[in-house]
Symmetry: C2
Subunit: 152 residues, 2 copies
């Protein structure tokens, strides 16, 4: 397991690939619009990131928050870099990746599906909520398009 | 409440003040060596951080991970910027601050006190563990001294 907020297969659907990072739509959409920003090389700790990797990450933070704000209008964003679940393995290979988890103080709908942030005001729970392939792809495309408009 | 990983009074004991950020020993030591890195100005979202604030933050990440590695030898680090608890208020004033939560796959002792990471491999729980004033101050001083040696 790479991460308890992700799943066993990977970070999710690819939205954008940059020089040092990839941006994905996370497999679990318990929190509408949850994305993953993952480093492309093997790197276990934030302190090992190079200056240019940090710089690109900060650009991505600005672009993806702007994008998610435009599409979903969340109340706030949670960001985390945890890597815990990889340590359940006897031979862990943790890899730096961030979870961008938008949080909502009210009900939201996407493609007619209801999203309710049952944990608002509290830490995000690693409880998976999968939605249909069609809706995931529709969401991925919407974020991809808006992200292009939000590029610095 | 400023944050469910902090408490009602603040970020904890001041370890170091920089141009844009302060570094604190967190009030809860459920995870030995837990620190808070907080922005000094009002800033609600990571996307609002200025380039020089990001740059100083990345320097702090390198220095504090090196410091905590030297003193406590954790297995890994969890980093998060959540701000959830401030939204339990009707008039929230979230402020960007990071939790650096060292995680341990084995028992640790500090000043004769036992620390066991009961949640290893899983997300950190916002369950407070307070230790005595004396031990907190001893830990703060140790981190402060080592941080000076770890400065870039």
């Amino acid at each position: 397991m790479i991460c308890e907020y992700c799943d066993n297969v990977g970070y999710g659907r690819l939205i954008s690939e940059r020089s040092y990072w990839t941006i994905h739509l996370a497999p679990s959409q318990r929190y509408l619009g949850t994305c993953v920003v993952a480093i492309k090389r093997q790197c276990s700790n934030l302190s090992e990131l190079e200056t240019e990797e940090w710089t690109e990450f900060t650009e991505i933070v600005r672009e993806i928050e702007k994008t998610i704000n435009h599409i979903f209008k969340p109340t706030l964003f949670n960001w985390s870099c945890f890597k815990n679940a990889s340590y359940r393995s006897k031979d862990p290979h943790p890899k730096v990746h961030w979870h961008l988890i938008p949080r909502y103080d009210s009900l939201k709908f996407f493609d007619g599906i209801k999203f309710e942030d049952l944990d608002f005001g509290y830490i995000p729970q690693p409880i998976s909520r999968e939605i249909s392939e069609d809706v995931m792809e529709s969401m991925r495309i919407k974020i991809e398009k808006q992200l292009t408009n939000s590029k610095i």
